[in-house]
């Protein structure tokens, strides 16, 4: 019986590949956009403009505090009432990009705040402009702090991308739901879905680990 189900599953590999492809494409696009946007927001968040920083903070809280599913619903089903008509893919990208940007914004802000104030003062004292200070002095140093949690966050976001199946995109998770209708074995089907995500996410986790270790070595970890 299991074997027969397994064969039946194996037969669904084109669907599974399509799902995996959708997950990867969605994640790639929205993570790339989200990273850009997140860095921009993070820089503004620490930029010293109280009002702007407050507004960004409130938006980040709102996004972090509500279920992603609800955000997707709002973008896909409610925005049309305000004349913004989006197809499922675009809506998914926008929702995921926004989510990514909000998380990355906080990571970047934390990284920027971790750069010693003396570095900024040194740059200030040698007459570098605001953008030059950010670009030449602060960001390169913040990156060391930012990179490991950033990559870790990517993994979480890739997994969060499964929620977009609720608006009809056939990603890896949705393929699981489709296939389980024909092969009613939740354990087997979702185990394989898990394997699919593992293949995408594990290399990223390894990367995050390595980045972390490189930073740790540079900072002299405590030995117990």
């Amino acid at each position: 019986m299991i074997w027969q189900q397994f064969l039946s599953l194996a037969g669904s590999y084109p669907l599974a590949l399509r799902g995996l492809g959708m997950t990867i494409v969605l994640s790639l696009i929205s993570l790339a956009l989200g990273t850009l946007l997140g860095f921009g927001l993070g820089i503004l968040r620490t930029g010293g403009n109280r009002l702007l920083s407050g507004v960004i903070g409130a938006w980040v809280d709102l996004i972090r505090g509500t279920p992603f599913l609800v955000q997707i619903f709002l973008i896909f089903f409610i925005l049309p009432e305000f004349g913004i008509e989006l197809d499922a893919f675009t809506a998914g990208i926008i929702a995921l990009t926004n989510l990514a940007a909000c998380f990355i914004c906080e990571i970047v802000a934390a990284g920027i705040r971790s750069v010693p104030i003396g570095q900024v003062e040194a740059a200030l004292a040698s007459g570098l402009s605001r953008w030059q200070r950010m670009h030449q002095v602060v960001l390169p140093q913040a990156m060391r702090i930012v990179l490991p949690p950033l990559v870790g966050q990517y993994v979480l976001l890739i997994k969060d991308s499964s929620v977009v199946s609720a608006i009809g995109l056939t990603d890896l998770t949705r393929v699981g739901w489709l296939v389980v209708q024909r092969v009613p074995n939740g354990l087997l089907v979702f185990f394989l879905v898990g394997v699919g995500y593992f293949i995408v996410c594990y290399p990223l986790i390894m990367l995050a680990r390595r980045l972390e270790r490189r930073m740790g070595a540079a900072h002299g970890e405590v030995q117990l």
């Binding site: 003396g118 570095q119 040194a122 040698s126 007459g127 570098l128 402009s129 030059q132 140093q141």
Partner: protein
């Protein structure tokens, strides 16, 4: 008190400057003028406002009232281009504050290239000369983490000189250093002073003060308590506070 007259304008000119941190009056009615090519040493107990004093000069701190005129421009005045003014002022920090992700040469050339818009090749040429001058010709491509404290501080000085400033400010440049490295930094500072730079130096290195300073300024609790030539100050301190201070730092 022996501040120079209020009428003529020095290179750095404090006139009745006050600064508060919250309720704390960290600079009290500071009046002090530094002439071109003059070297002034500032000393005083911890928390007396020495750092705050010199940080005001290039606008790292803002002042509450009074006037501060640097190189003929009023600091904090909206009409003053502070970024521009800062390029005329070099600042050396106690903790070096080298950019850890740049080599010694890159540290020295960063501002000349991006602020002064000097062509890279020319800036690097000048940077090498400067690094050689502070005795680090062989460390051009080393990163700060690969340098000793004394070497880092010498790079930091070269970094300031790279901008060809009119004024150099030093905030306890040797107090984070191992004793044997102090002299290598002081030697460089002496050389800079002897070339005629206008300098304000917060330091407790009395040997340095004796050697190059025209004036020593003693601060306590935010005010300038005493000021005079090094000989006057070290041999005949006028106030109890300066005597107590000198006895502490000269004893060991």
């Amino acid at each position: 008190m022996t501040q120079p007259g209020l009428t003529k304008t020095g290179m750095i000119d404090f006139r009745g400057v006050n600064k508060w941190f919250g309720a704390l009056n960290v600079l009290r009615d500071i009046t002090l003028s530094v002439e071109p090519r003059e070297v002034v040493v500032v000393c005083g107990p911890s928390g007396s406002g020495k750092s705050t004093l010199i940080r005001c000069i290039n606008g790292l701190e803002t002042i509450k009232d009074g006037h501060l005129i640097v190189d003929g421009q009023r600091v904090g005045d909206p009409a003053t281009n502070m970024t521009q003014l800062r390029t005329e002022i070099g600042f050396v920090f106690q903790s070096f504050n080298l950019y850890p992700h740049k080599t010694a040469l890159e540290n020295v050339t960063l501002a000349p290239i991006h602020v002064r818009k000097i062509p890279r090749a020319e800036a690097e040429q000048a940077g090498r000369v400067l690094l050689a001058k502070v005795g680090l010709a062989d460390k051009v491509n080393a990163y700060p983490a690969q340098l000793s404290g004394g070497q880092q501080q010498r790079v930091a000085i070269a970094r300031c000189l790279g901008m060809r400033p009119k004024i150099m400010l030093f905030d306890e440049p040797t107090s984070a250093l191992d004793p044997e490295m102090i002299s290598e930094v002081l030697d460089v500072m002496v050389a800079v002073a002897e070339e005629g730079m206008t300098m304000m130096v917060v330091t407790h290195e009395m040997g340095f003060a004796r050697k190059v300073a025209q004036r020593v300024v003693f601060m306590d609790a935010g005010a300038i308590v005493e000021s005079g030539t090094p000989d006057e100050f070290f041999s005949h301190p006028k106030t109890d506070r300066s005597r107590a201070f000198l006895s502490k730092i000269l004893r060991h």
